[in-house]
């Protein structure tokens, strides 16, 4: 009886050992490159910090100024992707990325009321930089159209959601009782600027 139980146990354990992870998504099938484009920036910490900082900056300036980024940011990503494919320049370099983190952080920490045109120019420049950096994942077999569509959709969704969340959090019309929220956004900017400053130092040192 014990021997049979032992054999059953071994058989069960071998079955467990053989089991692989279930791949329930369609990443590896015909829309795989769309997901590759959409997910690639979300797996890079630099993209996450820069996109979040950009979204928070636009959201802290209000809906009227920030709403332009819904269009400008994804277009910039596409422009960067195309530019990288044409010119072969894939990355702006660590110092440039760190400098951008520092600049966005300082603008947030200082609660700078920058004009809409300047905000759009910064967002477009950042998106071109990051679009070009994300082009590094394009292989010879990658469907470029699907990859670009995925990247643009991710940029659109991320920047819109972050701006909306910042606007909802700030509620500048709520009066003095919620002033601390503006301070919290500025403190977040201080954190971002600190990270950027250290990375500028690191880029200069290496």
């Amino acid at each position: 009886m014990n021997f049979r139980l032992g054999r059953l146990g071994i058989a069960a354990a071998i079955l467990f050992a053989q089991a692989g992870a279930a791949q329930a998504h369609i990443v590896a099938s015909r829309l795989g490159d769309f997901y590759a484009g959409a997910l690639h920036p979300l797996t890079d910490l630099q993209d996450i910090i820069l996109w979040v900082a950009m979204g928070v900056l636009a959201g802290s300036l209000g809906a009227v100024r920030g709403r332009w980024l819904v269009l400008v940011f994804p277009l910039g990503l596409l422009a960067g992707l195309v530019l990288a494919r044409i010119s072969g320049a894939l990355s702006a370099g660590p110092a440039m990325n760190a400098g951008m983190i520092l600049a966005l952080g300082l603008l947030l920490a200082a609660a700078a009321r920058i004009p809409t045109a300047l905000l759009c120019a910064i967002a477009f420049g950042l998106a071109v930089m990051r679009g070009a950096a994300n082009a590094g994942d394009l292989g010879p077999e990658t469907d470029r159209l699907l990859f670009a569509a995925g990247l643009a959709c991710a940029g659109y969704a991320a920047i819109t959601l972050i701006m909306a969340l910042t606007l909802a959090f700030r509620r500048p019309d709520a009066g003095t009782s919620l002033e601390w929220r503006g301070i919290a956004v500025r403190a977040f900017g201080g954190w971002v600027a600190a990270i950027g400053l250290m990375m500028v130092g690191f880029a200069l040192a290496s």
Partner: protein
């Protein structure tokens, strides 16, 4: 004998079941760098108590210190971090870090009400030294960016923790409790100071 083989077999199969694939993507250092950065200010007692004391003192001083502090402190500390990254030495860093806990603890214990500019200068000097100690570790981190994120977030959260504790000053009993905490921080700072002199001797 057969039972031993059976047990060994089960152990081997168990190890196979628990095995995870190794991922060689360049972002695999993010987790390690982030955790190291988060833990660096938390595992060094001298850093931890000084950061909490900064938050409490800011809360005791009230506006504008209470809101200028969380905005500017990380930036000043990052400046010290850059000096550390660039391997620019600072004089007696261990002594000054221990001194920061002693002085900030004493300021909390005595409810020292310095003018805002003077308090800002005191805190800024200490921030540079604390940042230097953290920044020196950055180049060797698995992912320097993640390490930077981790240590800035941990430091900011320690300040917030200090500010939250500092809000107890609204009640007389809370004020006494905070002053007692200041005495403990100052005493620990004194201990670290003596230790750093001992290490230097």
């Amino acid at each position: 004998m057969s039972s031993r083989i059976f047990a060994s077999l089960l152990a081997v199969i168990g190890a196979l079941v628990l095995a995870q694939p190794a991922l060689a993507h360049e972002q695999t250092g993010v987790g390690g760098g982030l955790i190291r950065g988060l833990l660096h200010p938390l595992t060094g007692m001298d850093h931890l108590i000084a950061m909490i004391a900064v938050g409490i003192w800011g809360a005791q001083l009230g506006a504008p210190a209470i809101w200028v502090l969380p905005i500017t402190f990380p930036l000043v500390m990052a400046f010290g971090g850059v000096l550390g990254v660039l391997r620019i030495p600072l004089p007696m860093p261990e002594v000054v870090i221990a001194l920061s806990a002693l002085i900030l603890g004493a300021a909390v214990a005595m409810r020292l009400r310095l003018p805002f500019a003077a308090a800002a200068i005191v805190v800024a000097v200490f921030a540079v030294f604390h940042g230097h100690a953290h920044g020196a570790e950055l180049p060797s981190a698995a992912d320097p960016l993640a390490y930077g994120v981790g240590f800035v977030v941990a430091t900011g959260l320690l300040h917030l923790c200090g500010i939250a504790i500092g809000t107890l000053t609204r009640w007389p009993a809370g004020e006494r409790l905070i002053q007692g905490l200041g005495v403990v921080i100052a005493a620990l700072g004194g201990y670290f100071l003596a230790q750093s002199f001992g290490a230097a001797a």
